[in-house]
Amino acid sequence: MKYLSEYRNPELVKKYLDEIHQSCTKPWMIMEVCGGQTHSIVKNGLLQLLPKEITMVHGPGCPVCVTPMHLIDKAVYLALKEKVILCSFGDMLRVPGSTDSLLEAKSKGADVRILYSPLEAVKLAKDNPDKQVVFFAVGFETTAPANALSVLHAHREGLENYSILASHVLVPPAIDAVMNDDLVKIQGFLAAGHVCTIMGIGEYGPLVEKYQVPIVVTGFEPVDILHGILMVVKQLEKSEHKLENQYARVVRPEGNPEARKVIEEVFEITDREWRGVGNIPLSGYQVKEQYAAFDANKKFSIKMPKVEENPECIAGQVLKGIKKPHECPQFGKGCTPERPLGAPMVSSEGACAAYYHFSKISGQLTEA
């Protein structure tokens, strides 16, 4: 999509772009946290339409990308066990572990299945009483209610052969961790709309105050993103920092209380390791003791050795906006979506893959 007329709402796109160009007088660095937004920004060519003063940094908001390698190894190990059906969302299959990806495990005979919903995995467990069904439950707050529901449904069914391998991550602690790094120069944030649909916007107020940065809860379509950027730029130009909600047509300030209740029933907050970023305190969910029977970590009590990331992958710096994907020496050479070295090259929502497919910035790569 290169021409304005190709957007779903070209007049509005043009209006926001004009306003951004008029409002912006200084260089600003803004991070969009959500991988869905990264995908939309790069795919719709928004980077080329924004004033050159604005640098968009693509944050750690792709759950596939930040799932640590030892968890991928654990999923691969489980998948290769006899009588185990390992299920996950499609994006997870090609993520490289230390030796294999789930796709490679599948080619070695493991029963690995791609599902659309964790609730389908419960049905699979019910239909296969002689097998253990494990759902690789990755995701941000948006996905947590579905993964929690699968545990509650399995509990109601009295299933003893269903469990989840939880790798849940949370957005606010990630913003906190990013801002805590002295090398990071981000001045404003677009927060993820669908995450806030569940959690509400209350958690972001303290971050606005702590770091004196504007945070605007934003949707994922080009019009939403440009509107969100405009709202951040207007605040920055006036030296303000406020929490605003661009996506109010979907996001209610209190979020979805029913969804939060389900999350609280099944999960509790824990420290989590983010691939490329490292350990972030209180940044994820784990299954509560009460539902330990559905926690694959406890059920199969596996200890996987910690493994080092490929040292040539600079994913951590990319996810914090210190480097752009095409500044990685491996980008498009040793690392491509077909043969990814690091996780951000795997999912279409990862910054490296988004750049590889759609960006002309590198100059050497044609649009895929």
């Binding site: 759950p63 499609g90 791609i114 419960v122 049905k123 995701g139 948006t142 579905a146 109601r156």
Partner: protein, 105 residues
Amino acid sequence: MCLAIPGKIKSIETMYDGLVRMAKIQFGGIMKQASLEMVPQAKVGDYVLVHVGVAISIVDEEEAKKSFEYLEQIGEIDELIEHTQTDRNDLPSINSSKSQSADGA
């Protein structure tokens, strides 16, 4: 994977002795099941945002249609279609089915 897709509730059934409401939801030409546990007020004919088999909020009809068109245009609906065609393991079977309303609402 974090996108939520808007669709229209065509019918609602219950399972687990009425504890859980499941809906048939239409996304363009595709029909999928989703849990309505997070949207207790949702009724047949409403548009809901669905993320990995769970409706997470009720949305305005106009907005839902526009946003679906956009998702279709950028190819995000393809993933949904792919999974609909390849997986034979549909959502949980509905035991005590008490249909609230039929199609066409």
